[in-house]
């Protein structure tokens, strides 16, 4: 594996790490990863670093990078945020193609990064696979049927009482990280940080999302969805079909971790998600031994915690 710190984009304002395998899989798409919420490009708990390095072991090239104005990338002057984000992703793909010759892409996004992912997949035919990690979810009747289970864990309530003092004493620690109810940014601070600022989100409604997925599948884009069930709007595997009208299949892979939370706070859940994401890409695009018959599609994996 070789990792290169790279700067790219028409204005040279974007920063990232190009991770190249020792033995690339011929014809495999390059994987793109970018900011999760306000985290810089390493992602929550460094998840993108773990994924990129595992992908490289499996023969996949990846670029993890900061969108303009975030992490180590400089702000892009002019244009609104949607235009900027599109330009960021376009420039990332152009850079990877110029540097490696790879012309197809498998972007993978997490949480708020889904907004850019979804838009990119719909508008750009170079995208041949997409990974949605903790993407859009809508509360279905099935969700509400399962919802009470979330709070029926006696150990959880017992612990809440046991740790009451500890939680109260957290205030002492918080002096290092002064919380406030509202976020205030003075212009000078934003300017001093090179224009890094907060973000706004745009998401489709449920009907539009379902229609969009059908469009992507009509183009034969391979889809991967990872949902976590602990503190989220998704709490049982069947909810995916309830939301989208689309049954999981080999081309629409669903990975559900009921015991994981939205930010993958536990390392085991993070590791499982990284392994599963990598396994999906290997299954779809991975190296095959000479003469090997393509792998028969396995049943969609459901890991219910």
């Amino acid at each position: 594996m070789k990792e290169h710190a790279v700067t790219f984009g028409a204005a040279g304002n974007l920063s990232g790490i190009l991770c190249e395998p020792e033995h690339p899989v011929p014809g495999a798409p390059a994987v793109l990863m970018w900011n999760v919420g306000i985290h810089h490009r390493v992602g929550a708990f460094r998840v993108w670093v773990d994924l990129a390095r595992r992908l490289a072991e499996a023969g996949f090239t990846s670029l993890r990078f900061d969108l303009s104005g975030m992490g180590d990338s400089e702000v892009r002057r002019g244009g609104d945020q949607d235009v900027e984000r599109k330009a960021d992703l376009d420039e990332a793909m152009a850079f990877v193609t110029r540097r490696t010759g790879i012309t197809t892409f498998a972007p993978v996004a997490f949480c708020s990064g889904i907004d850019q992912l979804h838009d990119l997949g719909l508008r750009d035919e170079r995208v041949v696979a997409m990974g949605y990690i903790e993407g859009y979810a809508w509360r279905t009747p099935g969700f509400w049927l399962h919802y009470p289970k979330r709070y029926l864990n006696p150990a959880l309530w017992k612990e809440r009482l046991e740790h009451l003092d500890e939680r109260q004493s957290l205030q002492r620690f918080k002096r290092f990280f002064k919380p406030r109810a509202a976020l205030k940014l003075d212009p000078e601070s934003v300017e001093a940080a090179g224009g890094a600022a907060m973000f706004a989100r745009h998401r489709p409604d449920q009907g539009q999302f379902a229609a969009d997925l059908r469009r992507l599948r009509a183009r034969d884009v391979k889809l991967f969805f990872a949902y976590f069930g602990l503190d989220t709007d998704f709490n049982h595997p069947a909810q995916f079909e309830e939301m989208t009208g689309m049954a999981p299949s080999d081309d629409v892979r669903l990975f559900y971790l009921g015991a994981a939370d939205h930010i993958l706070f536990r390392t085991a859940h993070r590791d499982a998600t990284v392994i599963e994401t990598c396994a999906w890409l290997k299954h779809r695009f991975g190296r095959r031994a000479t003469g090997e018959v393509p792998v028969t599609a396995p049943a969609p994996k459901l890991a219910v915690g």
Partner: protein, 263 residues
């Protein structure tokens, strides 16, 4: 802003923020907090680098081994290696800028590690310690409390012994190494001056100040009230960011004295 990998053996990721206009003769190395607090202070460090650039100072940020984009897995974290990383980064900063004088700013665990690096011989014109970890045991308790808070909020159970904290592996050898930290015992003899920046008065800071002064190291404590910000967006490890205003201004101001422009 220019990013690169450096270091022999363990490859480290660094970012150089080059000063605007004429540069001063001292460059600044920023040492981030421990991995559990790193992501939520990334923005603040970038802002601090920008403020220092305005004052004509070249600034370098870097990721310790086992963190960020640098080599290694968090589960294998070795504090001795991370102290060595600071010295390696200081040399890289000198090479990148052509300057021979370095000031070091460390936050929380980064302050404790930077102090150890200076105690072991890294020459620092100024050593600025931002909310330093005075006692490793207290630091572990802080992380445990925050871990509990996030675990409860995220509906996780908390299992003892805790083999992970704040969303990262926390193996026994790391716990032991952290528990052994006692800031005052690492006298930063190679520092021209030391300043501690705190949000509140602290008996540990006063004790450390007196002890280091007695050994001949000019040391001061500065209390900076964060009036307008120090804002944390969200309320937990790993899904939040911390913003500062007065503290960053105070730290940048400390190094903003009269310019002695590099030859």
């Amino acid at each position: 802003m220019r990013s690169f990998f450096f270091g022999a053996g363990r490859r480290l990721y660094g970012t150089l923020h080059e000063a605007r206009g004429s540069a001063r003769s001292t460059a600044v190395l920023l040492c981030s907090p421990g991995v559990q607090e790193y992501n939520m202070t990334h923005w603040a460090f970038r802002k601090l680098a920008g403020l220092l650039n305005r004052e004509g100072l070249h600034v370098m940020r870097f990721d310790y081994s086992y963190t960020g984009d640098s080599d290694g897995d968090v589960a294998d974290t070795n504090l001795t290696h991370q102290v060595e990383d600071i010295a390696t980064a200081a040399e890289e900063l000198k090479d990148q800028t052509g300057l021979r004088r370095v000031a070091v700013i460390g936050m929380r665990l980064g302050a404790a590690l930077a102090t150890q690096a200076v105690a072991r011989g890294l020459r620092a014109e100024s050593l600025l310690l931002w909310e330093p970890v005075f006692h490793g045991v207290d630091y572990i308790h802080d992380l445990e409390r925050l871990d509990t808070e996030v675990s409860m909020r995220r509906l996780h159970e908390v299992h003892e012994p805790r083999l992970e904290l704040g969303g990262y592996p926390f193996p026994g050898q790391l716990r032991d190494a952290l528990a052994g930290i006692a800031l005052k015992m690492h006298v930063p003899k190679s520092a021209g001056q030391v300043a501690m920046f705190l949000a509140e008065e602290s008996p540990e800071a006063t004790e450390t100040e007196l002890l280091w002064k007695r050994t001949g190291v000019p040391t001061r404590v500065k209390v900076v009230r964060e009036q307008s910000g120090g804002v944390r967006h969200g309320a937990g490890i790993g899904d939040s960011a911390v913003l500062y205003t007065e503290m960053l201004d105070a730290i940048a101001g400390e190094l903003a004295g009269p310019r002695a422009v590099a030859a």
